[in-house]
Amino acid sequence: MTRRGAGLYLIALSILACSCAARVDYTLYRSRVPRSILILPPQNSTTVVEASYSYLSTASRPLAEAGYYVFPVAVIDALMKENGLPTPDEMHSVSLNKIKEIIGADSVLYVTIQDWGTKYYVIGSATVVRASARLVDVETGATLWTGAAFASQDSGGGGGGLIGALVAAAVHSVLSSLADQTHELSRLATTNMVFNSDNGLLFGPRHPEYGSDKRGR
């Protein structure tokens, strides 16, 4: 095969890989469904300082409602800080052996925040939350599942014209602070990610549909 031929072949292969990625392989996850999930304070690749902890405080509910035991997020955070791990980055670097020994979690959900907060346009604004998540099996270190959380809210108003948009934007900022708005959006993003019927989490042992999940089948 010529070099050019090989290049084309690789391109074709990568396109194929992309189209396949949409279908999630649940084989490994299904064989090792954890009973408990430790969610660490997310790593934050944005410049918004509060993003990590705002996100953290919206994550327990969807994970628990999906049937998992979720470790108390603030208690774990305080424990880690007391033990010389002041930042999410440092917490994410703790070995799985250590997590098994100290916390006894079956799995860890590592989240990275990629986009957070409000962007202003000529008319109105949009608030966005985007994060990626990886569920790791503590015993084997294998990645059981990966997901992407996304939600956005356009405060430009729908169809109300310029005045409508301005009023909508003003009402928004009066009703709730931008930080609180993003916080609520984060809840929506995580809930949608966890319960997505195509690529969400499998139901855990505490969910009535545990074991009869149709995802990936």
């Binding site: 009973r35 408990s36 509060e50 902890y53 705002s54 953290l56 405080s57 919206t58 327990s60 509910r61 628990a64 409602e65 049937g67 998992y68 035991y69 979720v70 470790f71 108390p72 997020v73 603030a74 208690v75 305080a78 424990l79 100290i102 916390i103 006894g104 979690a105 079956d106 729908g158 169809g159 109300g160 014209g161 930080a179 609180d180 916080h183 809930t191 949608n192 319960f195 505490r206 969910h207």
Partner: protein, 123 residues
């Protein structure tokens, strides 16, 4: 015309999103637990342990009154609030309740309580 349909479509999509969330009966009574965690970080001035303890205790009682389950982490969080107030009996009791309700937390709870008693013995 397009401007007229857009809100309708948005509303329909929202209803769809909401219905998928509503269709599932909640496994737990959530109360203000997550809002309190948020407050601790976002508005630490409004989140002193005494007030939070009162709110969380009230939520636990409401859950009981309504016959609903208390979510994972709530009793452990209450234990932590007691720890901040130096109420060691409260710490012990709430962590034990967490462990009874959720045996998945056993290793964590036992470890925390053991390290705590070691620290107490050294002092």
């Amino acid at each position: 015309m397009r401007g007229f349909y857009l809100p309708l479509v948005t509303a329909a999509l929202c209803a769809l999103a909401a219905s998928s969330a509503c269709a599932r009966p909640s496994l737990y009574f959530w109360g203000r637990y997550e809002a309190m965690v948020y407050e601790m970080y976002a508005k630490p001035g409004q989140a002193d342990p005494v007030t939070q303890t009162a709110k969380l205790t009230e939520d636990i009682e409401r859950a009981r009154a309504e016959g609903k389950a208390v979510p994972p982490g709530v009793h452990a969080h209450l234990a932590y609030l007691y720890y901040q107030q130096g109420n060691l009996a409260g710490v012990q009791q709430e962590f034990q309740t967490e462990k009874t309700l959720f045996p998945e937390s056993a290793a964590f709870v036992d470890g925390v309580l053991e390290r705590l008693s070691q620290r107490m013995n050294r002092q």
